[in-house]
Symmetry: C2
Subunit: 166 residues, 2 copies
């Protein structure tokens, strides 16, 4: 590892890549639990779909590690642990209530926004560092995450929460 | 507190309001440290500006508590603790390096995205629950957070990170 004062944007890029790689693996573990907890079929289907997408996103990150000629390795990401812990809390505190799905959706949207922020940053750094192929891979995931957020927002605006508010 | 099975969207709204109230107070504590750490004058100014905005956002949350006739009280938010911890890690690991500002900006954008997700959710629930005045206050903050994210993205795309990539 570079000595503290010599650290560059390349080091920061790699550190952040490890952070999101760890985060994606935690999200992949959490999604089936969230799908199982969901009352609404549509919400369950959305979580299941995103589980498949997350597998693809992990593969893309592994391709970026390869482009850097570095082993794909995660680094504990406190942020995602905190965000997912809040989701677990919702699942336990609102189990069996009419508000559970609304809470699950909100938790999933917090996860999406964390990912959008991280992939946006990584894509931009890759561009600045002249890593075109990496930037392209990161952008693919970024667009996918943004689409997922839009789908979750639509779900939240329609059936799922309206049931809770009725 | 309502018994588990009786919990409604109103309870979830109040719980989430307490969560973001706690988060905003933590952010208010973190911003002067981030401003002090920043190398770029523009980034420091952006953090200082957002400190003032955060004070206003806390006041708006207190108005929402008042509308609900509930005491303004925070509830430990694991998500923001994790996100801010990552920012602290950057400040210590990248202190004195050319990549510090890029890392601080990325940390601030992760914070903004968490807030955007929470205020988006709260505004929507307020609307569904027929709380028009609360929805309006929450929307004011939501728009402010979105503007802050746009400003930070512009900063990231220009001077701050380019220096690090040079």
């Amino acid at each position: 590892m570079a000595a503290a004062k010599d650290k560059t944007l390349n080091d920061l890029f790699l550190d952040t890549l490890k952070d999101i790689y760890y985060a994606e693996k935690q999200i992949l573990k959490a999604l089936p639990k969230m799908a199982k907890a969901a009352s609404s079929d549509k919400l369950r289907a959305a979580f299941e779909k995103h589980e498949g997408e997350t597998e693809g996103q992990i593969e893309r990150l592994e391709q970026v590690f390869e482009l850097l000629d570095k082993p794909a390795r995660g680094k504990t990401c406190d942020a995602i642990m905190g965000i997912l812990d809040e989701g677990k809390e919702i699942m336990s505190e609102y189990k069996g209530t009419e508000a559970l799905d609304a809470g699950l959706l909100a938790a999933a949207q917090a996860v999406e926004h964390y990912e959008i922020s991280r992939y946006g940053t990584l894509k931009q750094w890759a561009t600045q560092l002249g890593m075109k192929d990496a930037a392209k891979l990161l952008d693919q995931t970024l667009q996918q995450e943004k689409n997922t957020d839009v789908s979750l927002t639509k779900l939240a605006e329609t059936a799922v929460n309206l049931a809770a508010a009725a």
